[in-house]
Amino acid sequence: MKDYDKYDHILGDKLSGLREEPPADMFDRIEATLAAMAAAEGESAESAREEQPKVVPLWRGGLWRTIGMSVAAAAVAVAVMVGVRLEAPEVFAPVELASMPHLSAPTRLTTPSLPTPIENRVAAIAPAESWLIASHAPLTTATPDVEVLKSTTSEADDNQSTLEQSARKSRTSTHRKSRRNRSRQEVESLENYWRENLKQESSGGINLLRPSEIAVVATNVGFNNSDHISSNIAQSQMVASERHNLGGTYVNPLLQSQQQSAELKHFMPTTFGLSLGYTLSDNLSIHTGLQFTFLHSESQTEAAVSRYEHRRSMDYVGIPIGLAIDLVEYNSFGLYTSLGIAADLNISATDGFYVDGSIVRTDALDVPLITLSAEALFGLEYNFWGNLGLYGEVGCTYRAINRENYPESYFTLHPFSFATRFGLRWSFN
């Protein structure tokens, strides 16, 4: 054996032969430690048994429980949204239809007794124009009764006086004369229009403005081209009849020289979702839940007399389902791509017509109840609280839409379109 091998052997023997006694009470210390550990373990097990029923993570309550809570929250949100959207505010105090006999039975305009400001102006019109009032009778078998009109516009007259005073400050006398001359021409053109273009119903009358519409017109009479009640009424009734006859876009002859017909401008829809994510594997998960889509279109026509707006809104609540593939995860952030389909249920579809910001009519649209779509999205998710996170997705979507059955909207013009979504997601596995 070489020296170093012998040295190692001796060293090993010498070191392993070293002996040193532990403290005499060491065993008791060890036993005390073991007893304390046993007692602590028993207490923690008992407290865990007592506390366990109180600590139940949400996802252990079951998938259906989570879905139910999400649906309940969505139902509340939809109820609030629908309740706010469909109410059209009254501009003026409503007038009982019973007090408007001309709406049910035609009346003829009689020689007025004119104590009110409007009636004074009517009485002051030139004789050449006064025949126009009486001439309305053969043209229309249902015209507003002056007495009735007076009762509905007395309040508006006050407004009109105020408006006229402020408007008069900005008008020159020359301008006022040209307006008066223009109004006579316009009245004649309206007469011709009525004779040639307006439909006559079997009952002998054309559709009249509703009381609120008359009140709106009376309020705005100060900004109209004419101070004559006849032209104001004619203009208003023409607008009402054209809306009725021509539907979504109308051509106001009074404005024809000033403005082209207004086409709807369609805005890209916004979708907000409450999503559930179920993890299938390290990289795969399923997303579903509820999504809310708000579709909005509008047109606006600015005229010398008023601003006319047409607003179309269609709202959907849908159920998407998709397969998500995780791409990158960093801290609480995650990037993923998603492929899926969705079924959207239409819950609201209306056309609203506004004059100077005040709604004058709301029409319900005939829209198919369910719309199917397929989508491919790229998403970013951020878990800010446990399994709860925010997500944002962009991508493309294709909607199966039959344009013949749909009113014009972003969906009909862009069945294959860019899509954006955002919302809250609860992930579990």
């Binding site: 170093y4 001796i10 090993g12 070293l18 040193e20 060491m26």
Partner: protein
Amino acid sequence: MTIESIIDGLRRGDSEARRELYQRYATAMFSLVRRYVKVRAAAEDVFHDGFVVLYTKIGDYRGEGSFEGWMKRIFVNAALNHLRQSSGKGFVDNDIGDLPPGRTGGAPPDALATLSDEELRRAIESLPEGYRTVLNLHAVEGYSHAEIAQMLDIGETTSRSQYLRAKARLAEIIGRHH
């Protein structure tokens, strides 16, 4: 009691089995710990923790290999954990010394054989911690340098050099006394 009956008693939580085992192996295990841990008070704590682990983890012993070897590994690991926590750095000592392999330097092996236990203990305690650890693991416990490298998270070459330097230093200390 046979060792098998002691082991069975330990699994049942029998305090008499614990006492019997302690009486048989306490001195050997404490001496093992003292070879690694320089300070006695710290060595008592490591020794105490080693037995607690031994009694509570008796279920992990499946009968593969000797029970004594399994028990020694528990105390060696306890000592190494203590050294790792107390030093805060690795087991590598940067004491530079160029000694060719195989050279023991200093005193001949016979001088080592005549060294008393107390002198040897003092000589071991005077070694740097890293030298002492590798020396005990290789010379006494019989671990290979590859195993030591894995246990201490050092390179195998480092383990060899540390062992050679430990022996050289020990020989130098012995030589000064003789």
